[in-house]
Symmetry: C3
Subunit: 269 residues, 3 copies
């Protein structure tokens, strides 16, 4: 068993944090596995959607904390900085992983199955869509440890819940319930624990029957729109992409199947 | 009867999509009429507010799709690209229309009366305020046709409902109900179908009694604030505009009428 | 009694608008006092959190309006522009005060105790977290006076409630109730009037036991994240700050106290 289990089924790659006895604490295996999975999902045409989830009662409770090793979210410890790359690595696991999420070219759905905190909090926010179980509890924790934020939490949280709720969650560090998360828009939907994964996979497999280039285009556009691009440039870009897709086989099939009143069969071309 | 009916009453220009048998599908008449209406509303001092709505059971179901013509949201078809303007026109109807909305100098209120999809979805999001009827159903549709987004939907949707709900709506392409739209902030208020237009006009006519330069200034400021301007520059700009308005006759009248405990009579000067 | 009362207790600076007979209308004493308080809170290590509130039935009803003096939100009147600084001062009280809020290095909690309008509206939006009383009524008012926006209202409002609700509030100028404000995310929580201040202070004093550098880092990050910084730069910055905090005494204490299962004792080092 790997610390990050990978399974591919019906066009959906399922990446599962698999250290339940450690509440799926982030270690180097998971970090490297996650970046590989994100790259694979982009490059392998068989993968249309990526689902991220965890085994056991946690999604991911953060980076590992032990008495032996000073805790760092990227696992770097003093004394290992023996290369220029390490000494200049202000990105570390945190920034590089968030960039890998941003660069991924398929929809990313989080089945956030339980406790989510610290680095796990940031990673959950990097998903495009988050489904929670009724038992999910989520928060930053970092302020309680004398820390601020990593894995993009301070980037995504204000965009998802607005600055006022973002301040409240980050300052306090407290975990909130699934119900509170729904109120402020931190989860798209709550499912009973026992059906969270099956409901998420059902949603993901349905998306995976969609037109692959359209899904990729939508992901790129929303990520750009939520970053700093100016409206006039963005609108030209939005139309350029739409115009390109209008020439695709899948767009022709989309309209033809609509006129024929039958399900489309998309090919990704 | 025109495909886009224009009526001006009590300071409110009402632009009505008027192809009910086609679910108000966007054609070139509507596109050109809409841009003319937006320009006219900015330049004609008699127009204080613009209301956009549709006849029949749809607001606008998108661009027209026929077996004869390959569907494009801007009506351009292969073979017509016989000028440099056409060949280089990466903006097409989509980007140019959204820019025309952004450049308009009066408040724009959408009375979103029914089915809203495709290009109609983007256009509805270009309105400043959206009132829905109980029967309104709204969504992108595009992913179902192998397409991504146009008419600014990918620009405005994440700003209105946050990136997570934006991803969900754009990936799935599904229409949602008025009630769901209210939950996520996609509509300001829902009215019964039979009173939607009268309630919208009542709101619009009340706004139209306001100080015209103040309304224009507010529209410009919120559009800039939701784009990419930096805080320090924006704040100087906000005050510059406020300082200019403080010297206006309407500001003097606003304060004088307040002190006199009578309704103000604004002149737009 | 000062127009802006300052009290420091248990690491919390409480700044209270104290002109209840004028509904705490903004005058020059308050403006200068507020900027001094914001600077003091940043520089004095004893202050961990700033609470802003008002005496009486208003939080702040705006800038003072009298028959004798033409009203301006920054108190500048014609004839006083006898220096280059005054003539070129496009920032005035408005922009400079909002910048002072943004530059402050401690969490700012508003106990928004009653009527909040005009300049008071903008100032309330400059707080990181807003607790309302059941009697709070809040809105811009400006459009009713022929004005647009100041004190950053047009910057913060779309970020807090989205552009559609921001347009509605700014165009109409109407005050909304605490309950409506909660629906759209303009307040973090509503308390009964009689317990608003004690609940706010309880929240603030709890925050004040936190790690001071972490709170400062969180405030800086969220403010940057809601401004125009690009994702890739922001993520490097987020990690740089986190990496710096990981070397702090408070971070070590945070993890050690967690492992020891005891409350942390932070020192701000």
């Amino acid at each position: 068993m790997s610390d990050l289990e990978i399974e591919i089924t019906d066009g959906v790659m399922i990446a599962t944090f698999n250290r339940p006895e450690k509440l799926n604490a982030l270690n180097n295996n998971i970090r490297v596995g996650l970046r590989n999975a994100l790259a694979e999902a982009s490059q392998n045409d068989e993968i249309k959607v990526l689902v991220l989830t965890g085994t056991g009662r946690a999604f991911c409770a953060g980076a590992e904390v032990t008495r032996e090793k000073s805790p760092t979210s990227n696992g770097v410890t003093t004394g290992e900085l023996n290369s220029r790359y390490d000494r200049m690595n202000i990105r570390a696991g945190s920034s590089e992983t968030v960039q890998a999420f941003a660069a991924c070219d398929v929809p990313i759905i989080g089945a956030i199955n339980g406790v989510t905190a610290g680095a796990g909090f940031g990673i959950s926010l990097c998903c495009d869509i988050r489904f929670f179980s009724e038992q999910t509890r989520i928060g930053s924790i970092f302020s309680k440890r004398g820390l601020a934020s990593d894995y993009g939490a301070a980037y995504w949280l204000p965009r998802l819940v607005g600055p006022a709720k973002a301040f409240e969650m980050l300052y306090s560090g407290e975990l909130i319930s699934a119900e509170e998360a729904l109120q402020i828009g931190l989860t798209n939907k709550i499912f009973p624990s026992e059906s969270l994964l099956s409901e998420t996979l059902s949603f993901a497999k349905n998306l995976a029957t969609g037109a692959p280039m359209a899904l990729t285009a939508i992901r790129r556009l929303v990520l750009e729109s939520t970053d700093t691009v100016e409206r006039n440039l963005f609108l030209d870009r939005e139309w350029s992409i739409q115009a390109q897709l209008l020439k695709s086989n899948d767009s022709k099939e989309g309209f033809q199947s609509f006129l024929d009143n039958r399900p489309p069969e998309f090919t990704g071309t």
